[in-house]
Amino acid sequence: MSIAILRFPGTNCEFDMVYAFEKLGKQASLVWHQDKELPAGTTLVVIPGGFSYGDYLRSGAIARFSPIMQAVVQYAQQGGFVLGICNGFQILLESGLLPGAMQRNENLHFVSQAQKLEVISNANEFLGHLRVGQIITIPIAHAEGNYFIDQDGLESLKTNDQILLRYYGENPNGSLEGIAGICNKEKTVFGLMPHPERAMETLLGSGDGIAMLQGLCAL
């Protein structure tokens, strides 16, 4: 029983992610993008942040066709839990495991800052340790976090309680309705732009990532 953390050429948050889960007492192993299968007994797949394949064409567009992503899509379709952060979120959107698409930030800036977030839904395994309406602080660092979905898609997200997190205060990237994180209808695939693995030590600014990742440790 362990957590599989994917590595693509250009991934740069995988070691922070291993550290975060080890801090919470969970075994995590790195899985190379050219592997065709996930380790036996995988309870959670994490697609960490970075710049997979240099963000060529569109962020996440090339990574979604890597051998390991075929295994991840199959794993997700069978009800397996998947968490995508930042570039991982972009890959989940490109692969169709989550609805919508990501665009360049509205102001064209790369934003890197501690970001206040509002918890919108906790009726899922991921945010069960947080309260609805709770304001937490988690770092963001991206140039393409401007989430977009058409009107029908947005209604569907709301109807099915799929919006997990919104940016609190000023919208840092122009994301539609300030959406910072969503999940699929089945509440097994989660994607968010903020980096909980960078909020694991209060000494370094915030420990709010602990409550987030804790939910997924119980799987």
Partner: protein, 80 residues
Amino acid sequence: MTAHIIVTLKEGVLDPQGKALHHALHALGFNEVLDARVNKHITLSLTGGDVALERAKVEQMCETLIANTVIENYSIEILP
């Protein structure tokens, strides 16, 4: 045989790069610019000789990888 593919953002999808370009052109005094959109032009060299067949293939390429049809449209021109 060459395929020229133009990928554009769909109507109603904000184009931050186009907006920045628009503002910059105005700052340079080009006030006749009403709007600017930044598109992608992709050129593919192809081995095939059948235009209809190649067009179908390129369409498949656009649908699977070259364009993200959630936010983008594409047009294809095949030249001998």
